[in-house]
């Protein structure tokens, strides 16, 4: 394989101290991810999947070890460098959607664009475009509570895609959806993968994992399988 290595995780640990209790959410994990990978991460509840995702997505920092994104050590980056990466390079999809309840669909999708210096009209055009591409062209003005779960997750996906990031991280994107809506969501990931994006999905479901080209399993904070 001579694919470009974009993510390099070297023996990272994430350790929480709760009183006298030491929780090793991640225990000496190493992982390399290449351009246009489609990876699923599975494992029992509490095994550290979300912790790993959050570190990859630059939302969290490891307690030990090094994480390089595009060959740059995250540790060495400033707050605004990290913000730029989250904004431009990574699209995050959460299990609980995390839409802002007072904003409508277009405004929610606009959020990442606000932090990327575009004019208002450009922002709205891009947001509507992204919503169209997830099939929500007729739901622009709907607030999250006026949308179904599947629609909410599609808004969240539109938001993740709107800045055309190269890496899509999804932490149990279908966990809160019925199988039909889940399937719709998964179709987008397939398309994105075909379009050249790197995709990492955390899931409990084999049906989701089976779409991935590479399956990683985590047990007790350690990678137990990577194939």
């Amino acid at each position: 394989m001579n694919k470009k290595e974009i993510i390099s995780i070297e023996s990272i640990s994430k350790i929480y101290h709760l009183g006298d209790n030491v929780v090793k959410a991640l225990d000496n994990v190493s992982l390399k991810i290449y351009e246009n990978d489609f990876i699923s991460i599975m494992g029992p509840s509490g095994s550290g999947k979300s912790t790993l995702m959050n570190i990859i997505g630059c939302l969290d920092v490891p307690s030990k070890g090094t994480y390089k994104l595009d060959n740059i050590e995250i540790d060495k980056m400033t707050d605004s460098d990290l913000a730029k990466i989250r904004n431009q390079k990574i699209g995050f999809v959460f299990q609980t959607f995390n839409l802002l309840p007072k904003l409508n669909a277009v405004q929610n999708v606009e959020v990442p664009l606000i932090y990327s210096s575009l004019s208002k009209s450009e922002r709205i055009a891009k947001a509507k475009n992204a919503l169209n591409s997830v099939g929500l062209g007729d739901r622009f003005d709907h607030k999250p509570n006026e949308l179904s779960g599947g629609q909410r997750q599609r808004v969240a996906i539109a938001r993740a895609l709107v800045n055309s990031p190269s890496i899509i991280l999804a932490d149990e994107p279908t966990g809160n959806l019925d199988s039909k809506s889940g399937l719709e969501i998964l179709k987008f990931f397939d398309e994105l993968h075909k379009a050249g994006n790197t995709i990492i999905v955390v899931t409990h479901e084999d049906s989701v994992a089976n779409r991935a080209k590479r399956k990683v399993e985590i047990f007790d904070g350690k990678i137990s399988k990577d194939e």
């Binding site: 939302l59 913000a83 989250r86 995050f92 959460f94 606000i114 210096s117």
Partner: protein, 410 residues
């Protein structure tokens, strides 16, 4: 271009802050109330002091910047009656000494003052009566003869019952008609109006108005009105000589009174500037209290805004996490919450300005509040300052949140 984009960004954050405010108007209203009160008080105090100032300027003109008044008592707000009660009255004879020995006094007059009920037909009113010398004509300050004439030396010698009246008398007794030649009764005796004084308006003098005045020969005053009344010597000098003329007058009076070197003055040489010092300390006291009240209300409102901002940050922790996950920098979040705080305080300040404006319209005649762009400008500055000060700590707390902890917050 770079700069423009940054500005654009700030406007974005302000818009986010505004939206947060729109979603909780009651809280914003309550919080900004303190600022409303603060801005309101400070405007009223400023207006009050400046209108007292204007009144005072008029009174200064009334006393004149070239006049000394030799009186029994000093003009003072904190009048120590026990100290002064045994002082002798001012004697008319002392004028001789002054005219004889003084270099700096150009003109002198006795001035007797009394308050007497005057009437014309069915209308009656209390009037301030001054009995003076013919020379007093050139010593009128703040006003002048507008109609008719002053009394002559001859009329003074003959103790004629002639009077010069102020504007209040014209308006009150004659319905604004020409009073010359008419007859007014003072204490049961008729006096003929021969002259009329120019209107002066309100001032900081007993009774408020400077126009409630009747002037007559001091001889007539003494013979017909009353032997009593309050006597002063009015000395005219030149404005640039006031200080030295005052010293001189004091010296001559001490000689006239035969005071020994270690004895205190048993008279006072007053002038408008002494009055001004008294007045200034009063003004400072008013302003001091006003600004204290304002200061307290501003501090209280700053604490209120800070409190609301802490609540706002707490309530929106998850939103902060999400925004950071979507690419907001710590600076973006800081600006977002600072703009929210500043906006709340500006809303309070604007409400204060509107209140002042309404009050100005309602009380235009009593309290001439100068409502101008400068007031708006200063209010704006104060609000921005308070907003930033009060919002800084909560906004920094928000900005320093780690994205994942904030996102996990329930």
């Amino acid at each position: 271009m770079e700069r423009f984009l940054k500005m654009n960004n700030i406007f974005q954050n302000i818009a986010i802050g505004l939206r947060a405010i729109k979603s909780n108007p009651t809280r914003v209203f309550l919080t900004s109330l303190g600022l409303t009160i603060g801005i309101f008080t400070v405007s009223i105090i400023t207006a009050g002091v400046s209108s007292i100032d204007k009144e005072f300027e008029k009174s200064m003109a009334y006393y004149g910047n070239d006049k000394l008044y030799v009186s029994t008592w000093p003009w003072s707000f904190n009048f120590d009656w026990w100290k002064y009660r045994n002082r002798p009255r001012i004697e008319e004879d002392n004028l001789q000494y002054i005219t004889q020995y003084s270099q700096y006094i150009d003109d002198v007059s006795l001035r007797k003052t009394s308050w007497i009920r005057g009437s014309y037909g069915n209308t009656a009113s209390w009037l301030q009566i001054n009995g003076v010398y013919p020379s007093y004509q050139d010593m009128l300050s703040g006003t002048k003869i507008e109609n008719g004439r002053f009394f002559s030396q001859n009329e003074w010698d003959l103790q004629r019952r002639v009077i010069i009246v102020g504007a209040t008398v014209r308006d009150g007794f004659f319905d604004g008609q020409d009073p010359i030649g008419k007859t007014i009764r003072l204490g049961g005796v008729s006096f003929e109006v021969i002259g009329e004084l120019k209107k002066q308006g309100m001032g900081m003098v007993p009774g408020g108005t400077l126009d409630n005045l009747v002037i007559m020969p001091s001889t007539t005053f003494k013979r017909i009105l009353t032997r009593w009344g309050f006597d002063e010597l009015v000395l005219k000098t030149r404005p640039e000589q006031m200080a030295i003329a005052k010293e001189e007058a004091e010296m001559i009076m001490r000689v006239a009174r035969k005071l020994k070197p270690d004895e205190e003055n048993n008279f006072a040489v007053n002038s408008a500037d002494a009055y001004k010092q008294q007045f200034d300390s009063l003004k400072i006291a008013i302003a001091g209290v006003g600004f204290l009240v304002t200061g307290i209300s501003l501090i209280v409102s700053a604490i209120g805004i800070m409190n609301v901002m802490f609540v706002s940050v707490k309530e929106r922790t998850k939103e902060i996490g999400l925004r950071k996950a979507m690419g907001a920098t710590s600076r973006n979040i800081l600006v977002q919450f600072l703009s929210e705080a500043v906006t709340i305080s500006i809303i309070g300040g604007l409400a204060g300005i509107i209140l002042v404006k309404l009050l100005t319209l309602a009380l235009a005649s009593f309290l001439p509040v100068s409502f101008d762009l400068l007031l708006i400008f200063y209010t704006f500055l104060v609000c921005v300052f308070i907003g930033i000060t009060a919002g800084m700590i909560p906004a920094r707390n928000a900005a320093s949140l780690n994205p994942i902890d904030a996102l996990r917050h329930e």
